[in-house]
Symmetry: C2
Amino acid sequence: MRVLITGAAGMVGRKLIARLAKDGTLRGQKIAALDLHDIVPPQAPVIEGVDVAIHTGDLAAAGATERLVASRPDVIFHLAGVVSGEAEANFDLGYRVNLDGTRALFDAVRLASYAPRVVFTSSIAVFGAPFPDVIPDEFHPTPLTSYGTQKLMGEALLADYTRRGFFDGIGIRLPTICVRPGKPNKAASGFFSGIIREPLSGQEAILPVSRSVVHTHASPRSAVNFLIHAAGIDGSTVGPRRNLTMPGVGVSVGQQIEALERVAGSRAVGLIREVPDDTIWAIVKGWPTRFEARRSRELGFTAETSFDEIIRVHIEDELDGKVAS
Amino acid sequence: MRVLITGAAGMVGRKLIARLAKDGTLRGQKIAALDLHDIVPPQAPVIEGVDVAIHTGDLAAAGATERLVASRPDVIFHLAGVVSGEAEANFDLGYRVNLDGTRALFDAVRLASYAPRVVFTSSIAVFGAPFPDVIPDEFHPTPLTSYGTQKLMGEALLADYTRRGFFDGIGIRLPTICVRPGKPNKAASGFFSGIIREPLSGQEAILPVSRSVVHTHASPRSAVNFLIHAAGIDGSTVGPRRNLTMPGVGVSVGQQIEALERVAGSRAVGLIREVPDDTIWAIVKGWPTRFEARRSRELGFTAETSFDEIIRVHIEDELDGKVAS
């Protein structure tokens, strides 16, 4: 079993690598080789008996993706991408990385003619307001950001390339991953994690939108579970609609804060400072709220069932079970 | 008023040119110049007082689209495309013309920084089975052909480029255009017209699918009406969802044949020969049936209201009102 991960230096990529290192297997087979790609060098894990190769550079550059698939990885996790805030700020970069890079990778796989499993991380940003109360699996994607547009185009390619037999693709629309560990990134969704992560570490956090904003979340641990499950799923059970909205916890920001109070007390909640930001609001107001995610649940994808659980996963996985007091 | 038409040598392109020549105006303004583009030289109409320029070549070739928009056309009708059967048979050609060509044109307009109206002909091929009985405007596009995938990606770009203010785009999802005049083309949908057109001219026609197949049609005259209406519509009334499913007549093949009998008699119907074709069936079975088309009707788009009317439009526009007897 040979595994390729693009975007391997990102948060989800690093957690996926750690999980693969721990499991030692994927799809029930021993992992023999890991190819890791990112624009910056991903950290090479030391895993006994596994050949690890590090690749860096621009996926859209001539020849880059051909080199990545030359070793014919059995499973390709395509996580690479410019995040929403950056794709909105830099039009050319977003299209180059998120669309051209994805297409270049898919075309390299097509031309290698060996039909591996490709798992592509799409996003609920493919959806755009207005929405029904709960968004069904059959609801049309009408993105309101360039990032969402690029992800939608990647989904369309994935479905067509799968239909044509070039590879066996599964697109997973990730909800917002929360609580993101570490420093904030440029994603407009950063505050959803910040208002939990910072107070749990005794730091002040900025809330740039109203508490009434409803959004769907899953933990980084769930994101990795989605990826592993998508790698192992029997493609013939999925049918031609290859892009699946993942399950998650749909809550308002107010409910997030109530969960924080239940898990970590009122002192943590007191560290949240409301500073409205019109730029973030302009992006967030077009984002989806709650999802049915019926198909993905039927296909065996699972996530947390409450925001309290999402906070506890963060405390377990990132804080050694400890909360600042 | 300067107008650019890509795909100007195609059936819809030629009819649009004839209509513009007859009207002499678009959006209430006198047409001063017509730029016509296609891969083969479109026929130059002679219109008094209108400068007509003919452009030929591959839209995706370097510099081609920059040259087309250098004269800053006020309205761009982007009709160019490889049809469904051909895009399915020739993967590279389909993506090059339908995706890369469209993106190149949109990017040339973006870089010219003057935000014209762009009317893009998409297709109901963006939808893929299974469907509800009547497909609502909010139903998700899940194409089952490469052609439909390419059109969906064009729609996504159109919406994002419009949102960004690069141009003011309207995407119109054409139903199957019926009755197509002239010879059959490579579209898998060709028989929908053939079974009407050939008998009306005293010729035999092949029906390659079951009479129970339901599909939505509009006449070439309606297609031109959609384009003219889309050019004139106030973009601010459309909102961010720029791609509209056009109205049409949803009927079974059996109902088409009944209409033919009502309009032209049983002798015409006797010229239809049923010869099932699995290749055509494999494509057609994934196609949509009936549409709600609520938004487009509310925005003032109109089509025929019966298949009898579609046949009569063909007899008026193509046969000088005469049917072979």
